[in-house]
Amino acid sequence: MYKYSEFDTAFLAERNAQFRAQVERRIDGSLTEDEFKPLRLMNGVYLQLHAYMLRVAIPYGTLNSAQMRQLAVLAETWDKGYGHFTTRQNIQYNWPKLNDIPDMLDALAKVGLHAIQTSGNTIRNVTADHFAGAAADEIADPRPVAELIRQWSTDHPEFQFLGRKFKIAITGSDNDRAVIKAHDIGLQIVEQGGEEGVRVIVGGGLGRTPMIGKVLRDFLPKADLLPYLESVLSVYNLLGRRDNKYKARIKITVHENGIDDIRNRVERQFAQIKPLFSGVDQDILAGIEEAFAPPALRQTSARAFEAAYTNDPVFRSWADTNLTPHRDPGHAIVTISLKAHGATPGDASASQMRVMADLAERYAYDELRISHEQNVILPHVAKADLPALHAALKEAELGTANVGLISDIIACPGMDYCALATARSIPIAQEIATRFDELKLEHEIGELKIKISGCINACGHHHVGHIGILGLDRAGVENYQITLGGDGGTDATIGERAGPGFSAEEIVPAIERLVYAYLDLRDGGDEHFLQTYRRLGLAPFKAALYPDHQREKAA
């Protein structure tokens, strides 16, 4: 794992001192509230419904146990004893006091963490495949490139006051687990004629105008990445609209000017910028790659694993849903579900964070990951250790066996915390999870991704949920709209609206009707919801959602 260089450490100390001074200058009037706002945002500080919120970056989703323990310390010292992991590989603290935040940032710096550019109209925390460095299907670990981009984008003088936020995601695998096509820039590490390079996708995004990104450059040599990104951002900074906040993202710039025009502008700019890069960034990248060298994996016997798998049905059920193949057949990737039925998706208490940190240290070569699906991952666990690990997780109430299933729901904070919300999302997620747990159906249903947002901004990724739920406000009453067939993976697709929305009381029964319809319609247990939907289209699901309407038509 990457460890901060002296340069990083000195930079962060200076940056934190600057923020401390900014808070004081806000209080003494040197900065107006308007002026202070983007400065606090670029340091991760939001003003929410009830209080300030601090959003801390988990760079490319990777943490070591010391960092996870420090997140627990923050939760206990300055918050209410828990934190919330988000879809963008951040952790949010919902109850800090503004005056305490500089101390929180100093505490984070001690373990090499920060909150820089987790908010505001800046280049945000770069996100990466949460199975990076462990997945069997990957061409290269994307994290070294992500770290390089983190350094390049941090405090970039041209891009701290962009027209709008700018999100970059990267994957090193054909199986996209980082939703790269729904980002302002999505990067995929690819190989061409034995050379490693990057495919650059631009103009994806969710929010009120969801769009799937388009290919800007099919193969970019790795050494050209930073000057190329700088060119894209420079074009966006000058060409992006500033007259209307809702048309300010690069997806609109691409849509209005056309991808070819954008490509020409970028290439022209690139020709000027590229010669200014001497190539030392590639030496720095080589150093980062070394730091990310995979751990020396232990070779163990699989016998304990097989015995537990055969004899313990609880372990078997967990192993079936929460394990993913590792590139080393003697190891597995473990996903720890933060979606216990009825709990708040993505919340973890300080004691749970400590348990996960201890287990990572003991069984997982000291590495943890945060996924955009709001779960925690131990990327390298020897199969022999899985039964002991599972037992420890169960004891900490972290043994829920539901990864990828209907109760593994992504939900944004919604009305419970967010000032922009038009409806609640967390309680809907809790009710759905609890209901399907009662029905004891979720393993039978198999893979099904439900994603819920509490307003049109789509923080809960509802557009790319197999079933998406969007909470709106209709004349003061919550109204939940369903979209179907969305997909955040390699075949990224925006879901289709199913029809009129449902009240808070009607939404869970509506989801139930949908799921029963799927169980009737599917072509055997191996056909997942999304596959059935793709085969049959909207009509039969619509009929299940709106049975009265069908009857009226028939009458």
Partner: protein
């Protein structure tokens, strides 16, 4: 009256030449033919939140402009290093801003060469 901010702090405006004034929505690509003989350019910052001026300055430098580049308008002390790193020589602020954000707050950002990730990566 206005104040000119440089690495040395506050000072009066000592430039006497003619300025080419650019709005923040200028497309620098269209300017190349106008730059002949121009020795000083002022780029407007109508609001500190309008960050286009930083990219305009950088583009002008990339196009080979070596004269004086000034950021004029609503710029914060917090943006001083960004402006210098993007290619500006100095910043022109009004008296209200100079009173509200006095010289020491700008001098605190005067060492803009330090802690510069981009310079380090470019080499």
């Amino acid at each position: 009256m206005t104040t000119i901010v440089t690495d040395a702090g506050f000072g009066p405006d000592t430039e006497t030449g003619t300025w080419l004034d650019l709005a923040s929505d200028t497309d620098p690509a269209g300017l190349s033919f106008q730059l002949d003989g121009v020795t000083q350019i002022r780029i407007a910052f109508p609001s500190f939140a309008d960050g286009r001026g930083f990219s305009i300055a950088r583009r002008l430098r990339l196009m080979g402009f070596e004269g004086r580049l000034r950021a004029q308008g609503h710029v914060l002390a917090d943006q001083y290093a960004m402006a210098r790193r993007s290619g500006f020589d100095d910043i022109e602020i009004d008296d209200d801003m100079a009173a509200r954000q006095p010289e020491d707050q700008w001098l605190a950002r005067a060492e803009w060469h330090a802690h510069n990730y981009q310079a380090r990566l470019r080499g």
